[in-house]
């Protein structure tokens, strides 16, 4: 029988096949057919349809089932014909129910899309995700660029020895450059590092060139808190040592970096300056990221913004870590992460970075 055959087929094909095969029986000569048609016409929804289906096709009390059970009462000669008629009725009922169901579902969906309306401009749920600090945001951006450029990130302690923070960087006791970096001391030999250069010294002591490192981290100065100063801030320093590294490489590297960080149009300017651990030393300016170098409030009309100090590693620094300064040359630079953050987001007061005001933090 057709239904049996249907059941044995894989479910997915079931419906397609059923639609095609059941189509051949569209009416029945059985007397129940007319009653069924009348009942079906009264159906207005899917629930009603289920009721009609149950009353005709229910396995126990369905009218078709009852008729089936009566088949035995027919004389044997009439049974085949009675059975055929009954089967025809069942198929016709199935087919009619199917058609009606499709119709009713369509009507239901049409009424749903017609009637259901929400105000989608009402506010969405506030998921309240948090956020990373603007310093970390900029720190990561900078770090990511250098890692893409093949640099390895190195870190070190915040409490440093005078040796690593000063002596090994060609800043002996009594050197006037110590005034530039007024230092918070723990005792005679320990201090809160004033830059992350000590990490570079430690790395050079442990590794031979070639070297391409950045040393980001927290640093300290004996400065009082105001709109542009903080006794604690963050710095990123870079160091490249290899044969044939030149000041031109420093310039090229910083150009690539600042174009990644700000925009393709960013220009880089080196001008002479002095840091005891580099020679030649340079102060590095970038073309103003706000006016493109034409002069504005941010760059004080100069077109340039001072962003970092740099230079070629001083031969004395190399000799202190046992590098041959005839064979190897290197460049180093250092910039304030907080300073870049303040510049990038135009934060008008550095204190905001350390106040943890969610009204501020949630803007990043």
């Amino acid at each position: 029988m057709i239904l049996k055959a249907l059941d044995s087929l894989p479910r997915r094909r079931n419906k397609l096949w059923k639609l095609e095969t059941v189509v051949d029986t569209e009416s029945s000569s059985h007397p129940l057919w007319n009653t069924f048609q009348l009942d079906l016409e009264k159906v207005t929804n899917l629930e009603g349809l289920t009721e009609v289906r149950d009353s005709y096709l229910g396995r126990q009390r369905g009218l078709v089932a009852l008729e089936m059970r009566k088949l035995g009462q027919f004389p044997p000669s009439e049974r085949p014909e009675a059975g055929r008629v009954l089967n025809e009725l069942k198929n016709a009922v199935l087919k009619a129910l199917e058609t009606r169901q499709t119709e009713l579902k369509k009507r239901r969906d049409e009424s749903r899309v017609r009637e259901e309306r929400i105000d989608t401009t009402l506010p969405g749920y506030n998921f309240k995700t948090g956020g990373i600090h603007p310093i970390r945001r900029v720190w990561r951006e900078m770090e990511d660029i250098f890692v893409r450029m093949g640099y390895t990130v190195v870190v070190g302690p915040e409490i440093e020895s005078d040796h690593y923070n000063f002596e090994a960087l060609n800043i002996p006791k009594g050197h006037p450059a110590r005034d530039d970096q007024d230092t918070l001391y723990i005792n005679d030999t320990l201090l809160l590092r004033t830059h992350t250069s000590p990490v570079q010294i430690r790395t050079m002591e442990q590794h031979q060139p070639p070297l391409r490192i950045i040393a980001p981290g927290r640093v300290f100065r004996r400065d009082s808190v105001d709109a542009t100063h903080s006794p604690m801030f963050h710095q990123m320093e870079g160091l490249v040592v290899d044969e044939g590294i030149t000041l031109a490489d420093l310039k090229g590297t910083l150009e690539v970096f600042f174009r990644e960080l700000f925009s393709e149009e960013t220009r880089v300017r080196l001008r002479p300056s002095y840091f005891p651990f580099v020679e030649p030393g340079a102060e590095v300016d970038i073309s103003c990221i706000f006016c493109g170098g034409n002069g504005c409030r941010v760059c004080k009309r100069s077109g340039w913004i001072e962003v970092l100090g740099a230079g070629m590693v001083h031969p004395r620094v190399f000799s202190m870590v046992g590098y041959d300064s005839e064979r190897y040359t290197g460049f180093a630079w250092g910039m304030g992460i907080d300073r870049i953050a303040i510049l990038k987001y135009q934060v008008d007061d550095m204190r905001l970075l350390f106040e943890n005001d969610i009204r501020f933090l949630s803007q990043f």
Partner: protein, 688 residues
Amino acid sequence: MKISYQWLQEFVDIDILGLEIEDVGNALTMVGLAVDVIEEFEDDYIFDVDVTTNRVDCLNHLGVARELAAQFRLKLKKPDFLPLPYDQTRAGGFPIEVSIEDSDLCPRYAARVMTDVAVGESPQWLRKRLESVGQRPVNAIVDVTNFVLFEIGQPLHAFDYHLLADSKIVVRRGRQGERLETLDGTVRHLDDSMLLICDGDKPVAIGGVMGGADSEISEASKTVLLESAYFEPSSIRRTARKLGLSTEASYRFERGGDPGLQVSALNRACSLIAEISGGTCVSPVIDENPVERKPQVLTLRGKRIAQVLGTPVPTEDVQTIFSCLEFQPEEETEGVFRVEVPSFRRDVELEADLVEEVARHYGYDRIPSHYPAATGVGRYADTEKIDRLLISTLVGAGFFEAVNYVFTTPAREAVFTKTIPPLVPVANPLTEVDTHLRATMIPGLIESVKQNLNHGVDNVRLFETGRVFRPGDSPSNEAHEERRLALVATGEFYGSFWNQLSEPFDFYHLKGIVAELFKHLRQPIEFQQTGDVPFLHPGIAAELLFKGNRIGFLGSLHPRLIETFKFPKAVFLSEFSLEEVYSQRLMEPEYKPLPRFPSVERDLSFVLDRAISFSTIDLAVQALQIAELKDFRLIDLYQGSRLPQGKISLTVRVTFVAPSRTLTQEEVNERFEGVVAALKQKFSIEQR
């Protein structure tokens, strides 16, 4: 450092180039003398030049003019340094004896006596020069000494000759207990680390720092002794620090200066005094110069220039640059220069310094740009993956990252705990709020919560990563750093929403977040009831155990502190060390095939003593080691009036699954009954 444009023009004909004043400023900037501001002063322009600490030679107009001359390849015109003749017939009336006792601190001392000077007001041109660089004119003699200082950089001092006992100058270390009233009217206590200028019986000046009030030039002065000396930089620096006294003289001496300039400067000053005040020299030029100095001679290889700068610089340029800078260059062999460094450039000590001189005047802007190819793969710090994992999870859970200062004070710590942990002291704090380093991040975060509440932000969730400090346990390890993560939360967990009620943030929210962090790290974490964290509510506190070690805590802020800070709601906090977490290898995800057979759940409700902690129940069930037990979780907890005193009711859901087959009813029943029996036996639970 203020530099007058007109004054510069006395030494270099910069005006003939017809440059805009901004271009002159820019030229200075590009040779390393950064011009911050250009101001107008009468008919002059004043550059505010940022002179780096190595360039003491540029703390005067001649030095700056030399740089401009070199930059534009112009000729430098120096002032006249010829000595005035002296009146030998009158010399006998003005005896003077100069002796240096401590030549390690004073390698050179030149002096001359002039008499018949009229100490009056300086002429207009001199007053203008001084005023243009921010100096207040005093009298003709003092003004001349200041003029020479700003003109060529040599600090001078003028004594009233008649006030010097025994007509003597003795340069020696101070003695304990000696005192001197300096020109600023302050009585200075001297000691043997300081170099003094004394007369026959007492100090009359602190060498290189400030003169004494007693021998000061006044309108009554008729005869002056001019001092032009060179002092040892570190000694001046030490003395100036000790006295808290920084003067134009000490600022220059402590940075080095020029040991070859003393006589020239003296001659220049004498000529000016004679011109202005009409005096006569009555002594020869006295020049006590016991320390022999040889000029520094360095070798510069042309190929080293290219090796460092990345571009060759033509030999002619090298020659010209050094000539303009008054270095004596000599090409010894092809491309190799012998360079004699002038005495005013004591900062030039190595070939690298010469390379910088070439680069400065060849032009940093002419250095080409080259990107060096990468030599390997870049790597993040070992801790970065863990940090990013922790931070992204916390951000997802609604936490904002805080950054607090690492400073604290014992008084502030005392607010949080009666037994303050040992703190690392800062030896030279700038203010009273940064005397020590923090031992915990909690006080900072609690104060941040307070600030936010004050600003009307009611729901505060903050985290901070950073270091805390404690004194080391040995002289070789004097301070110890530990990296930590701290969390704080107060307010609502679900914010109130227009179609939903809010839910207050509670202990279990924070615990869930901490557990989630460790789930993401794929590392185990255990929570154990504790009562010993001084700033936590003793009944609402847990310690965090990582591989058996206590790494931190989690809990509710102590009611005492809730009161202290006037917090409207409970505040939950956690802090733990990341050191052990960092020391673990970051676990990669481990794939387990998805179950192919259905799992079966059974719920169990039971009543038990509330003193029994859930973790003991959980552990007891795990201890049964039922292979098919997939999950044992609490789905409901009731404690209330419908239960006997001291009892609570729990509902747990137990899930069973087998990897290779569907469990039968009987198998599930057997295992479930095993769980129930174990709980009955161990904890006397009553099944409901």
